[in-house]
Amino acid sequence: MLQTPHPELYDVAIIGAGVVGCAVARRFALAGAKVVLIEKGADILSGASKANSAILHTGFDAPPDSLELELIRAGREEYLEIHESLNLALMKTGALICAWSGEDAEKLEEIEKQGRANGVAELRLLSASSARETMPGLAGRLVAALEVEGEHIIDPWSAPLAYLTQAVALGARFLRGAELLNGTFGGGWTLQTTNGAVRASAVVNAAGLYGDVVDQRLGFTAEFRIKPRKGQFVVLDKAACRHVPRIVLPVPTATTKGIVVCPTAFGNVLIGPTAEEQEDRVRATVETGTLRTLLQRGAEIVPALADIPVTAVYAGLRPATEEKAYRIFARPEKRAITLGGIRSTGLSAALGLAQHAMKLHAAFGEKFDAPPLIPKVSVPNLTETLERDWQRPDHGEIVCHCELVTRREIEAAMASPVPPGDFGGLRRRTRAGMGHCQGFYCNARLAAMTKGQLATSLAAGEQGKQ
């Protein structure tokens, strides 16, 4: 094909704008590379990254000596370094791994040992009563707990947005609605997408749930196969947060980390996720029966949750593979890197994965000139940990009453360097419509405010944005 509407030659093309792709874009842009981020969805976070537990992990339970552990630790460290300058939240809640039986309690020591071996220092075995002192809402049948001080809660949507915003400020291009169809390498890459062709010297596959497919489309034999694993969640009203100041983890079994009860940076409480294997890479459905079970499980862990209304439900797909480990491959002869199978720790490890991709890329023998000036970038705060826009004067008005989202915030998101491409994107950038009424009061207003600006318009009979 000779069609070249995007004729520039990029240093690096990244496939997939999940949290990993966004972090990689930032890292390469900071290094001075000319970056294009190619995403098939209408917005960033169209895949696995839109729905997770939002925990910044320490890696205490990661496989010892694994690359995953190394990258979680590197990613976490970088997040702690940069979050303030990007205006990203950090809730230092710590986690309690709760043993609900004597059998579980015996395993805590083992977990503690592994945690220490993994380089996580702040671990403390607690009796049931001292654990309940730090979190009185825990059910009385608690036997013992292991405290992991360093497990934190972050805003899972603003973080990748901040990474990409910084990349864009450094000149990176975000190409959306662009599904990679195939790529050919002849000294450099020519990538055909549903939104035109792109030329790049090197390519990074960060396609999450389609990591194997994209490898094939790039002409490689895929070294792994994605086996999506669904996680469903229930989100409770903000009234729940006073009962859940910390992350509550169960003692993991061989197959799953189990159901977590944890606060969110937005002041709610999450119960989930499930771990359900499925073939489908697209549908992340919620199911009545499962949601009911989650709610019940939550109330078994923190009894006061039984009386708290449900705000939202959601489900996400983990890009799991036939192996537990990350599936990372570099093909220097074709200047290609695959960051595959970033299953259940990608939010924590993203910045580490980006550093790692940079290292792998160094072996390709290409050098960039670091930009003379790193522009200051920060994203709007949506969390309860920092000041919100409704607390400041001249916000225009409140549009979403439940989440107190202001008109100024919505207008700013629509006019931002990486504006929302669909309604989900607007929700993730502002929280509009995410509260307990789920749009009863504001959805119509949002339809009017976003007319003609989203890929799938809220109002019917209206052409979406092309």
Binding site: V235, D237, W390, Y441
Partner: protein, 408 residues
């Protein structure tokens, strides 16, 4: 900045405006309505097809016109109206945090009346299975699209529910060129009465009782909905939206997150016979008390609560701890759920309002101190108002309980 009033009314729907006007009529000086929307009227503003106002204003108004009538009534009575002001939190002694385009203010008053109304339960809290595309909304949202923005969220929705509001939703669809593909009610019978229930048939729209929505399909916009009919067969209906109607619940998040909490069952504030909450600086009236009554009912209730607050201000706070009214399942709620010994001479609520969770036959009885003082056998239906006069002896009783004995 801090504003001090005699009474702040939170919510300027029918109940809030009626309370405020009544307070002024009874000589209370500084009465302020705080509403987060740009106009008064509350939920009536988007109900373009429903007549309002016959009993309170002696003529009929539709949609926003009724809200404008309320605005005139408030102005004429000398009520201070702050629209575009959202109450963000409720403090202990009638101190409120409010945000407006100016930023955050503190406001306080000797008494606060909560009249924040009710809304429909969204898809999430109903735990409906399926994808989560654009186009799954409630009646209030649909009516706001049509009434405020001249937009429609879909053209061929599936309607879920058979309460009064469900038929109103159907009319809104038809009036704006949308053609529902079907209407389904999970119960084996329609919840509203005839002649409303004739509407779908008149419009030629399939209506299925005992039919459950089991799956919503669509990645961006709704593409189909699966329903399981009463006989077990599953139908896939191509549609571009799902309209979830009814299942009202009080808009009581402010209370839920404050020290006051909400009452089990109603999910609204627990009030005593004067509309007073556990914390005697706070009162409530209208649909925030229980879902759901008409606008006219809410107006009259608000007026009575307004009168009670005026009297309470003149007389002094009723500080004494109330008795909680107990009730058996499947009674869903009882309002008032508290009774105080030292209430006003003429209480704002003459009747207990009850609702049942499901259709059930049996004997409902009221016991004071363990002794039955009232009973009635009947077939009780969900979403129907039941009134039981509050016997004067109840205010003095140490225990008040509604018993229910189901007949097999």
């Amino acid at each position: 900045m801090s504003t001090v009033a005699d009474v702040i009314v939170v919510g300027g729907g029918p109940a809030g405006v009626a309370a405020a006007v009544e307070l002024r009529r009874r000589g209370v000086k500084h009465v302020t309505i705080v509403d987060r929307e740009p106009h008064l009227g509350g939920a009536t503003r988007h109900c373009s097809h429903s007549p309002f106002g016959m009993r309170e204003f002696g003529r009929l108004y539709f949609g926003a016109a009724y809200g404008r009538r309320l605005e005139r009534a408030a102005a004429a009575a000398g009520v201070e109206v702050l629209t575009g002001h959202s109450v963000v939190s409720l403090g202990e002694q009638g101190a409120l945090t409010v945000t407006s385009p100016r930023g955050v203010d503190m406001m306080s008053a000797k008494r606060v009346v909560i009249a924040t109304g009710a809304r429909e339960t969204p898809r999430s809290a109903r735990f409906i299975s399926g994808d989560r595309p654009v186009g799954v909304i409630t009646t209030g949202t649909l009516q706001s699209y049509a009434a405020f923005h001249g937009l429609m969220p879909f053209r061929r929705p599936l309607i879920v529910g058979s309460e009064l509001v469900s038929y109103s939703a159907l009319l809104t669809c038809l009036a704006h060129g949308a053609r529902p593909v079907a209407m389904v009610e999970p119960n084996p019978y329609a919840l509203a009465r005839a002649p409303f229930t004739w509407l779908p048939r008149l419009a030629g729209i399939p209506f299925h009782c005992g039919a459950e929505l089991i799956d919503i399909v669509g990645q961006n916009r709704v593409e189909a909905a699966k329903i399981r009919l009463e006989n077990g067969t599953v139908q896939t209906l191509a549609c571009d939206g799902v309209l979830l109607t009814g299942c009202f619940t009080p808009e009581s998040a402010l209370l839920l997150r404050s020290l006051q909490g909400v009452a089990p069952g109603s999910a609204g504030p627990a009030i005593d016979q004067d509309g007073r909450m556990q914390n005697p600086a706070y009162f409530a009236g209208g649909n925030v008390l229980r879902a759901v009554e008409t606008a006219g009912w809410s107006f009259r209730e608000g007026r009575r609560v307004g009168a009670a607050v005026a009297e309470d201000l003149a007389r002094g706070t009723a500080g004494e701890a109330p008795v909680t009214v107990g009730f058996d399942s499947p009674i869903k709620l009882v309002v008032p759920g508290l009774l105080r010994r030292n209430g006003l001479a003429t209480p704002a609520f003459q009747d207990f309002q009850l609702r049942f969770e499901r259709r059930v036959r049996g004997c409902l009885s009221l016991e004071l101190n363990g002794r039955e003082v009232w009973s009635r056998k009947a077939l009780w239906l969900p979403e129907r108002r039941i009134l039981v006069p509050i016997p004067p002896a109840a205010f003095k009783a140490g225990s008040v309980h509604f018993r229910f004995t189901e007949e097999s």
